[in-house]
């Protein structure tokens, strides 16, 4: 064996190895209820609250969210794209299947989890749901409404494309428009 056989991979080799991590996707949707069911059987989860009290945690969460918003609380800022040596990209979420308020809340939660996952991986990312009346110009032109956005810092376009393809909005019948920010 020569001295450098265990040394670093070259760029192509390193990229190919990293590319293997993209396969496999996510666990099937039915896995979560299966695990939750098993945990209930094992007594690892509390019994579900019933009646009016079931809404108490949500009401408290809503109150804190409003207080946080009024206080101008914002998410801590992640390192800039420049700091990561990359480019900022905007992901515009368009359309999406209509949903009940409960489904929308679940969707918001899911998108937040996706955002948290990106941040955990060191990707600078932020995003928000867009609400209220839309004004599109020129008026009368048929466009799918923009319902939310994310701004992410990616190393290059291929990483940005991979991030956009994994956006949960696509699972809900929506579209994602990806563009680099100059």
């Amino acid at each position: 064996m020569s001295d450098n056989e265990g040394a670093d991979w070259n760029d192509n080799e390193a990229r190919a190895l990293r590319g293997l991590a993209e396969g496999g996707g996510s666990p099937a949707p039915e896995v979560k209820p299966r695990i939750i069911g098993r945990m209930r059987v094992l007594g690892l989860l509390a019994s579900r609250p019933r009646g009016l009290w079931a809404w108490a945690p949500w009401a408290a969460a809503a109150v804190f969210a409003v207080i946080g918003f009024l206080a101008g609380r914002v998410l801590p800022s992640a390192p800039s794209a420049e700091e990561r040596g990359g480019t900022k990209y905007v992901l515009l979420l368009t359309g999406g299947a209509s949903a009940t308020p409960e489904e929308n809340a679940a969707r918001r939660h899911e998108y937040g989890a996706w955002l948290g996952d990106l941040q955990e991986r060191g990707v600078s990312a932020d995003g928000a749901e867009l609400v209220g009346a839309r004004h599109e110009f020129p008026e009368g032109r048929p466009n799918e409404p923009v319902v939310g956005y994310f701004v992410v810092a990616a190393r290059d376009e291929s990483e940005a494309v991979a991030i956009a393809r994994a956006n949960p909005h696509l699972r809900h019948g929506g579209g994602v428009v990806l563009a680099a920010i100059r």
Binding site: M1, E5, G6, A7, W9, A14, A16, L17, R18, G19, L20, A21, E22, G23, G24, G25, S26, P27, A28, V31, K32, R34, I35, I36, R38, M39, L42, L44, L45, A46, R48, P49, P57, A65, F69, V74, L75, R108, H109, E110, Y111, G112, A113, L115, G116, D117, Q119, E120, D126, G127, A128, E129, L130, V131, G148, F150, V161, A162, R165
Partner: protein
Amino acid sequence: MSRYETPSDPELVRRFLEDRAQESFESLYDRHSPYLFRVAFRMLHGDRSAAEDVLQEAWIRAVTSLSRFRGESTLRTWLCGITMNCCREVWRRRTFVPIDELPESPSPSRADRLQGVRLERALGQLDHDSREIIELYDVLGHTHDEVAAILDIAPGTSKSRLFRARATLRGILGTD
């Protein structure tokens, strides 16, 4: 406009330990399961069903001992260590056949795909220790400190194991 909320991991853990509610667990599950599944999927040679079983076992163990999580590493690293232990138990029970097809990935070119298949075959021939370190460091992108925390070894051991594992992998790829 309302921002998509991203509470920190310690906050999610605190909430769960406080109420043990399904919703609190789901917040943790939704954030970390895609990654933990990816770890198990890689370690179990692309066997989705086995990876999902490992994910279940890992969450049950994690929730059982969550109150003992001291935050010495990130929650994800800690969960990854539990997942790795579950994968090792599966390894002990069965033998995997190296996969011939590259798992689904975002529109790889033909050349990338062939390169991927070649790598998968070579990885399938590695011993478990070598495979673990290559998967964690080279494929999943962990640092040596994280690998050390996941495998419960010293960072220096992680570096020397990686060196040896890469040499073995290069040898396999060279004779492919």
